[in-house]
Symmetry: C2
Subunit: 353 residues, 2 copies
């Protein structure tokens, strides 16, 4: 018998990561006395042949489009009406970041003042003038609720197959993180809780830039030492960037050793879409846009977008010379720097002075 004061979970998004998390959360809440069993997952409706995706999920309990072959729990209910997901106590944001703003607007009237958000989106928002803006800040400002993040080395396909991994749950209030951990944690999905959500979130965005660089190294056949150097130099520039621009939010160096830090960076640099773009930037003369069309079915890679915003911030603050790797990757993405000149940019790096 469940308690009457049960907490409701809503999942905003139903791609491969959203559906994977839906599976985990759906199964977990079945066993948690203080959570409502039904978990609503917002689906942007689309037709799959003659049928609707939401109806397929609710009848066959499988997201045939974005997570085929993985059985979803019956209590995970696809919902096309965003307001019906938005009245939950815990709101899990797991949608492409470019849709976040408009979705927040639609959700707003229904969101409880006591709700708590958690973002699984690896990306950044762009402020008008000032460069990078955290997506959790966008959620907090639009909905007036606190919002943390769940980040880590979590390729959705592998998590959906229950292959062992780790994740980092970051929330300013550690008690909220510990409570939330119960709905995410499984014996194959291991979670550490931290309070430094700013670093966790930024690592999830900035690593995509480094991954493009790692792909360039692959494309140039430059070997293991060079790749490790690019990953590490990238990591140090990520760290310096975070301490430079977000120092007032108390970043903690230990966060870089969490799954959201080094582990996610490693996974992303040894696979994934940004590495692929980097590889082909080095082996073809095509633009990022053309490569996205060819290789990613037209979807955007986050790395080049994030690199452009980072570049803008560094330029505004006259710090380009302190971040040779991030700058070089941006210039390679813009086709302003030939990829085979990438390494030249890393020689005489401030780290080696």
């Amino acid at each position: 018998m469940k308690n009457t004061q049960t907490k409701k979970v809503g999942i905003i998004g139903s791609g491969n990561w959203g559906s994977t998390i839906g599976k985990i959360v759906g199964l977990n809440v079945q066993k948690l006395e203080d959570f409502e069993t039904t978990v609503r997952m917002w689906v942007l409706e689309e037709n799959i042949g003659e049928e609707k995706l939401s109806e397929i999920i609710n009848s066959r309990h499988e997201n045939v489009k974005y997570l085929p072959g993985i059985p979803l729990p019956d209590n995970l209910v696809a919902e096309t009406e965003i307001t019906k997901c938005a009245d939950a106590d815990y709101l899990i944001f797991v949608l492409p970041h470019q849709f976040l703003q408009s979705v927040l607007q639609k959700m707003k009237p229904t969101v409880k003042s006591t709700a708590i958000g958690i973002s699984l989106i690896k990306g950044i928002d762009f402020a008008d003038d000032s460069g990078i803006k955290l997506l959790t800040d966008t959620v907090e400002q639009n909905l007036g609720i606190p919002c943390g993040v769940l980040m880590g080395a979590n390729l959705a396909d592998e998590v959906s197959k229950e292959m062992f991994c780790e994740a980092t749950l970051a929330f300013k209030d550690i008690h909220i993180a510990e409570d939330l951990k119960r709905i995410f944690k499984t014996d194959y999905f291991c979670i550490s809780c931290i309070t430094d959500q700013v670093t966790a979130e930024l690592c999830g965005a900035l690593k995509n830039i480094v991954a493009v660089g790692s792909g360039v190294i692959n494309g140039l056949n430059l070997g293991n030492n060079t790749k490790a150097a690019v990953i590490r130099i990238g990591f140090m520039e990520m760290k310096n960037f975070i301490f430079q621009f977000f120092n007032d939010r108390n970043p903690n160096v230990d966060t870089f050793l969490e799954s959201c830090g080094m582990a996610d960076l490693i996974t992303t640099c040894y696979g994934g879409r940004n590495t692929k773009i980097g590889h082909h930037l080095a082996t073809t003369e095509k633009s990022v846009r053309e490569l996205e069309k060819e290789l990613l079915n037209g979807q955007s890679a986050q790395g080049p977008l994030t690199a452009a915003e980072v570049y803008k911030m560094l330029e505004t603050h006259e710090l380009l010379d302190k971040y040779p790797l991030l700058v070089a990757i941006h210039n390679i993405c813009q086709r302003k720097l030939p990829p085979n000149k990438f390494i030249e940019y890393l020689k005489n790096h401030p780290l080696h002075e």
Copy 2:
């Protein structure tokens, strides 16, 4: 014209890493006013067909056995008499660690009291009862000279081909590190100087244990997330181990972000002999010894040896439960744990409590 007060460099060892470093140092001292141009490199003599290895190196300027195809500078002189290398001002130790003790004994009478050692050996020494002993401590105790380390993500073959990489030069006295940096640094071999030599040295040894684990994951086909988790959990156990047993020597968390830390760990976990042993531990039923014979031409992999010493220390201090990954890898190497149970050991890890 060189100064009369020039410093002499001796290289103790001439394997692939020794010869690679010999090339770098030989070329660098040619341009340094305060260093003697001749660099002596100790060679354990062996016959190559009808010829002697030392004579080949000195006539053809190539180490045809351990670094074939790479031209060595003329001023790098192979020397079979250890005492003729031992009177240098800077002594670079780059030999298999099992030979270190006996070589030090032979060198001792000729070593200057003002000499400075630098170890490039990635391994550990074993104290009689107390487990791990640093090789630099062995050098310092035997020769009565200070000894630092040069560590990093430096596969010798790639460095010898002048592919871009980084390394960490760690010396308690930063001025010695800065001076030494001049003989190692090139535009493709970039060096950061730090004072935390204990962490730098231990990372170089402990990473080999984690690499065996990474190889097991490869052999089990467990995917990118799992591999990243194993690397990170291993990294955290390395860190905790160093802070646990070497805390009185002031380890610094920042060192883990240097090339000797995360970069070397990554390179080692994505290639190299320990990964190979791990892979075959997972896919065969052979012992480590048998695999070393088959795969490494009879040479020892460092990972299993180091794991055994680490295990002994953890057992003595009743800390086995705090280091599930290091313990599991030792047990897999000993064939006491089936490799497919590795992941079970990582569930409920103290990091995720």
